[in-house]
């Protein structure tokens, strides 16, 4: 090949890199064979405790992923393809993404959805930006029940921009109508809500939506897909932009990613929506086919005028979720949601019986609920680790003043036996705390 190029050595191909631009250092380990690296990785994996009985959710849930998902998602034709720029040789990805969009639409009861965004947090940020574009306004009211992680992300991304965020507290675990209405004005671009919220509480936001619309503001809602097997949909409430974290739709926890951001909205807003969108059309012979569409919203066409800078999104995760939703089916979704609800209710009722534990339960919850302990929850959770449980997520970290609270999630994977053992261990842990305080 060098001969064809007409240079004597590979080094001669790099002459544009001046000698002074050579690496000042390149001190990397020697290559190892597959077997050795695998042994190393296995050793590292053994340093992770991934087999605690999982009662932590916080937006990321320990759901069972049926084997069919892994079997299909691991097909090289899916995962070693690029973004489907050449539709004729990418119909597999394109049709699957069109189906994904449709699945998200029927799940949320919305008209249009995109083909994914990075994750639930950045999707919410994109929704906020979209509302600014749609309304030309600069203020957002955000409910305190929205994931504190998401709220932090929103602040980061807008810190160099001129937008205003107003947060409202919760009442009885639900959005504070009074506060929100007070803040709602004709500068308000959107109200951001979450259902179920970070405390596990469910709500019907129809009233807020109506008020917001009266003021010309939009409503953005972040949702937990599995809950929509039972819960009132954003579409039914009249929400304008729906976003969510799709991890619960067949994706492993993976220590934080890759996850799946999704977004759905009204058809009339589609040209302001960020991210890739797959559309149906016909080929030269009138055969149905699928293409990336409305690309004029995207950076590769519109550059600085694009709706977002997103390029690589999370197609494979969208496909994974699509396979999961397809395998699950209509009735499966309902049943999965029901099982989650019932197991969490059972756990809640059992925990309620423990002395000194309170479940301020003015509002109903789905598969996650908030427990008030007589001591700092983070200490109790630490004790529970030693008993083999990830007992819940202490709220103190993100809600100063709520140090004694934790949110407990119960999925379909938690057996009755595990729940009962959990309750027993929690009692013990609390007892240990009492003893420690005394001594």
């Amino acid at each position: 090949m060098l001969k064809a190029i007409g240079v004597p050595s590979v080094d001669d191909l790099f002459v544009d890199i001046k000698p002074q631009h050579a690496p000042h250092s390149f001190n990397l380990p020697e290559g190892r064979c597959e077997f050795e690296v695998f042994e190393h990785i296995k050793k590292l994996a053994a340093k992770n405790t991934f087999d605690l009985v999982q009662f932590i959710g916080g937006g990321y849930y320990d759901h069972y992923v049926p084997a069919v998902v892994g079997a299909l998602i691991s097909r090289g034709e899916f995962y070693t393809a690029y973004t489907p720029y050449q539709p004729e040789c990418s119909q597999g990805t394109l049709q699957a993404l069109y189906e994904f969009q449709s699945l998200i639409c029927t799940l949320t009861d919305m008209e249009v959805a995109n083909a994914s965004l990075y994750d639930g947090g950045t999707a919410l940020y994109e929704a906020a930006m979209m509302s600014f574009r749609l309304t030309g306004r600069h203020k957002i009211i955000i409910d305190g029940g929205v994931s504190p992680i998401y709220r932090k992300i929103l602040r980061t991304y807008t810190s160099n921009l001129h937008y205003e965020f107003q947060e409202t507290p919760l009442v009885h675990g639900q959005a504070d109508r009074k506060q929100i209405l007070k803040l709602l004005d004709d500068k308000t671009s959107a109200v951001i809500l979450q259902n179920p919220n970070f405390f596990g509480v469910i709500d019907d936001h129809t009233d807020i939506v109506n008020k917001a619309h009266e003021k010309g503001a939009l409503v953005i809602e972040s949702v937990y897909p599995i809950s929509l097997g039972l819960l009132k949909t954003p579409g039914e409430m009249g929400v304008d932009i729906v976003t969510g974290e799709g991890q619960s739709l067949g994706l492993p926890l993976n220590f934080g990613g890759p996850y799946l951001g999704f977004m759905a909205t009204r058809k009339k807003f589609i040209r302001k929506m960020p991210g890739r969108i797959v559309g149906q059309t016909l080929d030269m012979h009138g055969k149905r086919c699928f293409v990336n569409t409305l690309q004029a919203r995207e950076q590769h066409i519109r550059r600085e005028k694009a709706m977002s800078n997103i390029c690589t999104n999370v197609s494979l995760c969208a496909l994974q979720a699509a396979i999961f939703m397809t395998a699950l089916g209509k009735e499966g979704l309902r049943q999965l949601a029901q099982t989650n609800f019932e197991k969490a209710e059972f756990a809640r009722q059992q925990i309620e019986k423990i002395k000194d534990v309170q479940l301020k339960r003015s509002s109903p919850t789905f598969n996650e609920f908030t427990v008030c302990l007589p001591v700092d929850a983070s200490i109790v959770v630490e004790k529970m680790i030693h008993k083999g449980f990830a007992a819940g997520f202490p709220l103190g970290r993100y809600y100063p003043g709520m140090e004694n609270y934790m949110v407990v999630a119960v999925t379909e994977k938690r057996t009755k036996d595990e729940i009962l053992r959990y309750v027993k261990c929690l009692e013990q842990a609390l007892q240990e705390c009492r003893v420690e305080v005394r001594t």
């Binding site: 240079v7 191909l13 544009d16 890199i17 631009h21 690496p23 250092s25 390149f26 990397l28 597959e34 053994a46 992770n48 999982q54 069972y64 299909l72 097909r75 090289g76 034709e77 995962y79 393809a81 690029y82 050449q86 990418s90 119909q91 049709q95 189906e99 249009v112 994914s116 990075y118 994750d119 992680i149 810190s159 469910i202 039972l230 819960l231 009132k232 993976n254 934080g256 990613g257 890759p258 890739r276 559309g279 059309t281 080929d283 995207e298 590769h300 550059r303 600085e304 977002s308 390029c311 690589t312 999370v314 396979i323 397809t326 699950l328 983070s378 680790i385 990830a390 202490p394 379909e412």
Partner: protein
């Protein structure tokens, strides 16, 4: 092919979730319940498997086809890295665990991976610190530009613009814009690199920084890169390195050594995590000392006792840019890849990538117009102008290649070259494969002379012919259900 919804038959099911083994009397109050039914399809697992298996076969992919898509680095994704990512100790680790009290003890392995990757990336790029959090290249760009903004805010600088070359990827100007900057485009000179005179004229105190790939999207390494960096630094601008083309210079040059202050890495390019049909990827961002204070939180730190922990205590940090610690499963693949290759293997990456690209360039220039006839790095950009004169455009040639069982190169990007055809053969392709591609390109050229009509209804071997994109944008149909309604 039918859609899943068209295959649905009431009463069928694939995956059956566990039934409740507890009895509870409570129910969700009616007002909170959905009234409309969710129309997930009802299919047996066999029908699900057949559907997606058949769909998969309608894709071209690296595993099945040569895929020289310029700028995208479609090189082989080792199966080993996929296997590594399945390790249960990583795959089933909840990201909130290390945020518990003493919780870092539960994730020492994962934190170690992140910590070591930071060190490895620093050494490879000459940067001083890395955040693993950004979820793709463009997300890394945004993270980098936000740090840039934080830097200027901290210094009280009044900055308004970011400079990008006209050959830049669309994400660069888009990122600048959504981060609150105006982007200023600098044209390329006849050698395919940034026109320094124009640059000089655009530099002023309002310039926050510059975003650059190097080699640029023409596949050309700008020998004046140090000069450019100096010019930008002189107005207290920050030099951003778009890492999409890092694979060209691994072991040959480090962005940190030549004046870049901040950069991202596309693990899905240089470190070959699979593209997944459009993600997920990962876009770790590296910075030099100037920008360290602004790195997003959390950061992974090492205690004296050898344990790792998440450190959130950085008052100047731009804050949370992602929910957790990055696309961990992708980072883990990249980590395994780096360990496999090692120092020498990584050098071979750039050697072979550049060798293969130059080989393609030298051979194809006999038939295709080469706008910048000089050595290239890992990719080369042609123009189909000669063929277009005969009525055969870059897109026609692309479709011709599809019929040859090869994925087309990138066409119509970069925007700086008319009828551009951007070819990145990558280092993992065999000469025999590249030769077949070259022959196909020659054949396309011959055909453009003999029978330009031939191209009109290509491709012919795929399940569909060319789609009507105008109709797609006009009669918007992006949801099976709203179409039906």
């Amino acid at each position: 092919m039918k859609l899943i919804f068209e295959k649905s038959v009431p009463g069928r099911h694939g995956y059956i979730p566990p039934r409740s083994d507890v009895e509870v009397k409570t129910a969700i109050p009616e007002v909170y319940k959905r009234k409309t039914a969710c129309q997930f399809p009802e299919m047996t697992e066999l029908d699900v498997v057949r559907h997606y298996t058949q769909l998969s076969q309608q894709n071209f992919s690296i595993d099945t086809n040569f895929y020289p898509l310029g700028s995208c680095t479609m090189k082989y994704n080792p199966k080993f890295c996929e296997a590594v990512a399945q390790t249960p100790g990583f795959a089933h680790l909840h990201p909130l665990l290390p945020q518990l009290k003493q919780g870092e003890k539960l994730a020492q392995g994962a934190l170690q991976v992140l910590f070591e990757m930071e060190k490895l990336f620093c050494e490879m790029t000459g940067m001083d610190a890395f955040t693993m959090q950004p979820l793709a290249g463009a997300h890394g760009e945004l993270t980098g530009v936000m740090m840039m903004a934080a830097y200027h805010r901290a210094k009280g600088n009044k900055k308004k613009t970011i400079i990008v070359p006209d050959s830049a990827h669309g994400t660069n100007p888009a990122t600048a814009a959504i981060a609150g900057y105006e982007s200023v485009s600098i044209p390329s000179d006849k050698n395919g690199v940034m026109d320094l005179k124009v640059l000089q004229s655009k530099l002023n105190d309002e310039v926050a920084g510059m975003m650059l790939t190097c080699p640029n999207t023409h596949g050309i390494f700008n020998s004046d890169i140090d000069k450019i960096a100096k010019m930008v630094h002189d107005v207290d601008g920050i030099m951003y390195y778009d890492g999409a083309n890092l694979n060209a210079i691994l072991g040959r040059c480090r962005p940190g050594d030549i004046g870049f202050d901040v950069m991202h890495i596309n693990t899905h390019k240089t470190f070959t995590t699979p593209h997944g049909g459009g993600g997920p990827g990962a876009g770790p961002v590296g910075v030099n000392k100037k920008l360290i204070p602004y790195l997003p939180i959390s950061r992974v730190c090492l205690r004296k006792d050898g344990t790792y922990y998440l450190n959130y205590d950085y008052p100047d940090s731009i804050g949370y840019i992602a929910s957790f610690y990055g696309n961990f499963a992708l980072l883990l693949r990249a980590y395994a890849y780096i360990l496999l290759l090692g120092k020498e293997g990584l050098k071979e990456v750039s050697n072979h990538a550049v060798l293969n690209a130059n080989y393609v360039k030298e051979r194809l220039k006999k038939a295709y117009k080469l706008p910048f006839d000089r050595l290239c790095m890992h990719e080369c950009v042609f123009s189909a102008d000669n063929q277009a004169e005969r009525g055969v455009h870059a897109m026609d040639i692309a479709k011709f290649l599809i019929d040859k069982g090869m994925h087309p190169p990138t066409v119509y990007f970069p925007l700086t070259v008319h009828e551009s055809i951007m070819i990145e053969p990558t280092e993992t392709e065999a000469k025999a494969t590249i030769d077949e591609f070259i022959e196909a390109m020659f054949e396309a050229d011959r055909l453009s002379q003999q029978n330009p009509e031939h191209f009109r209804d290509l491709p012919k071997t795929t399940l569909i012919t060319r789609p009507d994109e105008v109709k797609a944008a006009r009669d918007i149909n992006t949801n099976y259900f709203s179409q039906a309604a």
